[in-house]
Symmetry: C2
């Protein structure tokens, strides 16, 4: 891995959600080249099964100007919070559920060519209703979210046919279906 070493780094922008920096990277051939990196907090997402159904959300996403059908998910934006705790928190805040069983499925990179973001996916089973956590305030988009329950087989077929447009949701549904019914 250390064929590529960072010789120097400078931050060019501190945003609200992201930090942009320019790294000077020493390449295997010895040349040094500049590479722009967008640093963004890692994310978690949950395939939550309630019987045969998966619990999804339809939510407006301003960056793409569309309502997307998505897994419950969120950023690791609470200091000291583990990925698993963040997954449990988002499951509670977004769809009002707690999981009796939570297992990690995978971690993937959303767009490895230009951002360091990774998303860890969990499978939640034995779910039951949970009260919203104390002190939680929904954003306007969260208040406008619609919970959608679909049979996992149907949601996974939509993903496999290219009819869902959110990366973590496609990846999570297809890996969960494979885990539960390998084909």
């Amino acid at each position: 891995m250390s064929d590529y070493a960072v010789a120097a780094s400078r931050v060019t922008h501190e945003g609200v959600l992201v930090t942009v920096r320019i790294d000077e990277v020493r390449m295997p051939d010895g040349e040094v080249a500049e590479r722009e990196v967008v640093a963004s907090a890692d994310a978690v997402a949950v395939v939550a099964l309630d019987g045969d159904d998966v619990v999804l959300l339809r939510q407006y996403r301003h960056p793409v100007g569309e309502r997307l059908l998505e897994l419950p998910a969120g950023k690791l934006d609470v200091d000291g919070e583990s990925r698993e705790d963040a997954a449990r928190r988002e499951l509670c805040e977004e769809v009002g559920l707690e999981a009796g069983e939570l297992v990690e499925l995978t971690t993937f990179h959303n767009s490895a060519g230009w951002t360091d973001e990774s998303t860890t996916l969990y499978l939640a089973r034995a779910v039951r209703p949970a009260p919203a956590p104390a002190g939680f305030t929904a954003t306007a988009e969260e208040a406008d979210m619609e919970v959608v329950r679909l049979p996992l087989a149907e949601a996974a077929a939509m993903a496999a046919e290219g009819r869902l447009r959110d990366a973590k949701t496609v990846v999570g549904l297809l890996i969960a279906r494979h885990r539960l019914a390998p084909s």
Copy 2:
């Protein structure tokens, strides 16, 4: 869709690969809230089949500090180039192939909560060797890429088991496998 209208917008950073802006978005309840958006050129990626094999690349990705197994892919960074032309260009530049048949599989959003990036996936068949295009200069990472051929069934199984870490590659392999052998 127009429940959410952009009342104003200002660019806060012009980077090399990305532009960061703050939009003032009027929410359905009438309130105006600021939303940071990272604008990044759209991408294309190709599931290229040569007989039963899919043609992949192992490539160092500086933002995540790992070598990833990926589909041939790239950004729409040539003025006026269509997505299909970009897919053909990347297939030629990265793995030295041209496609007799190229069909679109899907378009997904890599991380819809904070960036407008989308990636369009293609399935290429009837591939044959093609000379590198005139004027093409590889980056250091591209010169260091390794071409990896695997049976599509094996690569798709790796994706379904959570053993691949690049979003477009997981999505592309699983949708291509479903298209060719629905389960």
